[in-house]
């Protein structure tokens, strides 16, 4: 199977590490919030349970609504979210890429932020093809110097 999903991390070319507490001043917070949402996408695509867990607060919620009217979740708690999301990896033999675009950071306070962004989900199984478009609405809180996701809602344009 080419490419093997998560080949970047497996080959050592993609040494993603958990984010660390940053000493950047307040002007950097908007960028760090955006990086956390990006890190969620990288963690899923590179099949890194450790990084996925590092994106969420212990009591985080993941839920969504999709184009066929179905609702998914809510899945509550960091461990449950990681277990649920990573359960898809055994069923997905393609390389997924969650491309996050068109991001706006709203309601930024010293300890909370809300992000709205678009998702273009791509799949590569020999050939590249789009899977779906969605939006994410992401609530984040500053916890021990790191922005962590405590509420992630996906609005999918197609059926889940």
């Amino acid at each position: 199977l080419i490419p093997a999903p998560a080949w970047g991390f497996a080959s050592g070319d993609l040494p993603l590490v958990p984010a660390t507490a940053d000493q950047a001043d307040a002007d950097a917070q908007r960028v760090l919030v955006a990086e956390r949402v990006h890190a969620y996408a990288w963690a899923f695509d590179e099949r890194r349970r450790d990084l996925l867990a590092a994106c969420f607060t212990a009591d985080a919620v993941w839920h969504g609504s999709f184009g066929d009217g179905s609702r998914v979740g809510a899945t509550r708690g960091r461990d449950a979210i990681v277990a649920w999301l990573s359960s898809y990896w055994n069923r997905q033999d393609d390389q997924r890429r969650h491309l996050i675009t068109t991001m706006q950071v709203d309601a930024l306070t010293p300890t909370r932020a809300t992000v709205i962004c678009s998702l273009l989900l791509l799949s590569v199984r020999q050939e590249l093809s789009p899977v779906l478009t969605s939006f994410y609405r992401v609530g984040l809180q500053l916890t021990d110097g790191q922005w962590l996701i405590d509420d992630l809602f996906e609005g999918g344009d197609l059926a889940f």
């Binding site: 970047g8 993609l14 001043d25 002007d27 950097a28 990006h38 996050i100 590249l128």
Partner: protein
């Protein structure tokens, strides 16, 4: 099809004076500004490639910068060592690529920021336009090592491209 008949001619936006992407700004030392300028450098690399701006590509790299890449984690392209070698590679490559490429970089995260060096990751979505049709080419992960020079300008010291499908 001759170049005169082909639409669009790669790099048309720069030729038209529309995409007047410059060399980049120096940092004032603020970490937040640095993170934005690191992203800006990645975007300038994309602009330089797509608009076939050989000087713009040169500006992106340190004098001893390295460019290399992997297709699907197996086939290795490069490395090209040094700014001049990278410019030489691109300069020879572009005439053989007849379509208008657009490097769309997203999902940027920055690790190991020290104030004078950093490592960044980004996704590439590579699009192609030729003869009134636009189509995706490939997608994949890029890794950038960057350093801030004495003038406060962030440049690429090592670019590692990754592509999930051949092209």
């Amino acid at each position: 099809m001759s170049e005169a008949e082909q639409r669009p001619v790669p790099g048309w936006s720069r030729e038209l004076g529309l995409s007047t992407v410059g060399a980049g700004s120096a940092s004032d030392g603020d970490p937040g500004v640095d993170r934005v300028l690191i992203m800006d450098r990645i975007f300038r690399y994309a602009w330089g490639f797509d608009e076939r701006n050989i000087d713009g590509i040169g500006e992106c790299f340190t004098e001893d910068g390295i460019w290399e890449g992997w297709v699907m984690g197996t086939d290795h392209v490069g490395p090209f060592n040094g700014r001049a070698a990278i410019q030489g590679f691109m300069g020879e490559f572009w005439p053989n690529q007849e379509d208008q490429r657009r490097h769309v970089f997203t999902n940027i995260i920055i690790d190991d920021y020290t104030g004078s060096s950093a490592q960044a990751h980004a996704y590439l979505l590579l699009m192609s336009s030729m003869n009134a049709e636009t189509s995706p080419v490939t997608v994949g992960p890029y890794r950038f090592d960057l350093v801030k020079d004495e003038g406060g300008v962030w440049r690429l010291s090592h670019l590692r491209g990754g592509w999930d499908s051949p092209f």
